[in-house]
């Protein structure tokens, strides 16, 4: 959301916002701690995304690469996307049976607004891996999936 000098609030429509996010992801993120891209490069409505998080050092997640699936519904970005871990993980904001991220338990999605995006969710999840509640949580064997 952007405000013009005339006081008009400009809303970037869903598809154009997701195209911007895609262009951002293609530029990469310095250390590559997080990454994301379209599952199908020809997905006109940019619904299904793959995500990746590199476990942060100094935690039990260190050295692991977590795969996620992100789904942007028609209501995105009015509401946050569905985010699901493919790789098995033990985390306070992740449903232990399905791997679904619980929106109410992650600050990026709990305090969601349309200026946020996939990048902020992945970065928020990685930050959460470093929190006191998650840093030293016992983890399932590497390579398992939900």
């Amino acid at each position: 959301m952007q405000r013009t000098p005339a006081g008009e609030t400009v809303i970037v429509p869903r598809n154009f916002k997701l195209l911007e996010e895609l262009e951002g992801s293609e530029k990469g993120h310095g250390d590559m701690a997080i990454s994301y891209g379209l599952v199908d490069p020809g997905d006109t409505f940019l619904r299904e995304w793959n995500g990746g998080i590199l476990g942060p050092p100094g935690t039990y997640h260190d050295g692991r690469f977590y795969e996620l699936r992100i789904t942007c519904t028609d209501n995105y970005p009015a509401e946050p996307p569905t985010v699901k871990f493919i790789s098995k993980i033990n985390m306070t904001c992740v449903d232990p049976r399905s791997g679904l991220v619980q929106h109410s338990r992650l600050s990026a999605t709990k305090n969601w607004n349309r200026n946020l995006g996939i990048e902020q969710i992945l970065t928020g999840l990685r930050r959460e891996m470093c929190s006191d509640a998650n840093r030293r949580l016992r983890q399932p064997a590497e390579g398992l999936t939900f």
């Binding site: 952007q2 405000r3 013009t4 005339a6 006081g7 008009e8 609030t9 400009v10 809303i11 970037v12 429509p13 598809n15 154009f16 195209l19 895609l22 490069p41 020809g42 997905d43 006109t44 940019l46």
Partner: protein, 154 residues
């Protein structure tokens, strides 16, 4: 919801698009976002897109008209200057943009690009290669795409 006042320039452009539309092109703003337009362009006659109607979307960013509109195809189209996501390679949408241009000129340029694909400045290399090496096959594929994805609804 777009709050505040829409710039007069955009209001004028919209009024004229509706009152005096370009042949073969329609552009209608969405009621809940007056900077966002549903666009339909008829495939130019004598082109491989003839008989098709192509849906596009267009958005006027906050810094329009200092910055160009954002526009892309929603209907699948086989064209060397359009990529898989419908993004269009057109100089006036990038470095050749000038605030003197309008939504109308942009849509006319896209229509012209459909009449005259430019495989030497491609966005989709695979499509451009076919276009350069076997134009007959490229045109046939483009016609097939038009029939499959852009057929006029009765």
């Amino acid at each position: 919801m777009s709050g505040g006042s829409l710039p007069r320039r955009i209001v004028k452009e919209t009024q004229r698009l509706i009152a005096d539309p370009v042949a073969g092109i329609s552009a209608t703003p969405y009621a809940d976002n007056l900077r966002y337009f549903a666009v339909a362009i008829e495939g130019p006659s004598d082109s491989c897109y003839e008989e098709g109607v192509f849906q596009l979307e267009l958005f006027l960013p906050a810094d329009y008209p200092m910055a160009p509109p954002k526009v892309r195809f929603l209907t699948k189209i086989y064209h060397p200057n359009v990529d898989k996501l419908g993004r269009i390679c057109l100089d006036i949408l990038k470095e050749k943009w000038s605030p003197a241009l309008q939504i109308r000129t942009v849509l006319l340029s896209i229509q012209a690009l459909m009449s005259a694909p430019n495989p030497d400045d491609p966005l989709d290399n695979t499509v451009a290669d076919v276009w350069k090496n076997d134009e007959a096959k490229a045109l046939e594929t483009a016609r097939e795409f038009t029939k499959n994805f852009a057929a006029k609804k009765e």
